[in-house]
Amino acid sequence: MSPPHVTITVLFFAQARDAAGRARATLDLPAGSRVSDALALLERAHPRLAPLRPHLAVAVGQKLAAGDAALADGAELALLPPVSGG
């Protein structure tokens, strides 16, 4: 039996979508993973995300979330580059 894990959906916007070359991904993570763990994994898969990292905000379930926020199974994690609406 595999160790417990969570599956999350990742949404990439604007420069993050350009860097990842995709708008959406599904990610399997060990149970107990946090936002920072997901970001580390995404950065390994998409190295062009690294330079964006200092300016990237993350939302979980449409709320801004810190790096140590926990990820529940089925969570929607969004990578949000600096905003420029208006």
């Binding site: 949404l11 420069q15 990237l56 939302a59 905003v83 420029s84 609406g85």
Partner: protein
């Protein structure tokens, strides 16, 4: 009620719908496409949003504007997708009994919108190419 729309913003309708009988002042702000940015000629813009979060953010801004300022209504509409030159990308309509809070709420809502709502703008240049506008880091 906050709206995100791929179509031209219905400015006349927004003004017509701003409540008036008890209000002496209506301030409409329109953000329109500029044809230049940092020395380069821009031929069009495109906006994208994290739509459910952006819509909730705009609705929260409307509610917070009503709580912070002595106004009767605040309504924000942002366009998404391609926006031709000279068309509005955003409209904020505030109605109030007096003009000072109407102006202040409108400015505040636009400042917050640019700072906090997950919407991104890309500029397309006359000389070719495009670029995301440098924005404000959230949080």
């Amino acid at each position: 009620m906050a709206e995100l729309t791929p179509a031209p913003i219905p400015i006349e309708r927004l003004i017509a719908e701003a409540p008036r009988p008890e209000c002496g002042a209506v301030v409409l702000f329109l953000g329109t496409t500029r044809d230049h940015h940092e020395g380069r000629r821009v031929v069009r813009l495109a906006y994208e949003a994290y739509e459910p979060m952006a819509l909730a953010s705009l609705a929260a801004l409307e509610a917070e504007a009503l709580a912070r300022f002595a106004i009767g209504s605040c309504r924000i509409v942002h366009r998404l997708g391609q926006v031709p030159l000279a068309e509005a990308s955003v409209a904020v309509v505030v109605a109030a009994a007096h003009r000072a809070p109407a102006y202040e709420a409108s400015r505040w809502a636009m400042d917050e919108l640019k700072r906090t709502v997950p919407i991104w703008k890309k500029e397309f240049f006359a000389e070719g190419g495009d670029a995301w506008v440098e924005g404000t880091t959230l949080g």
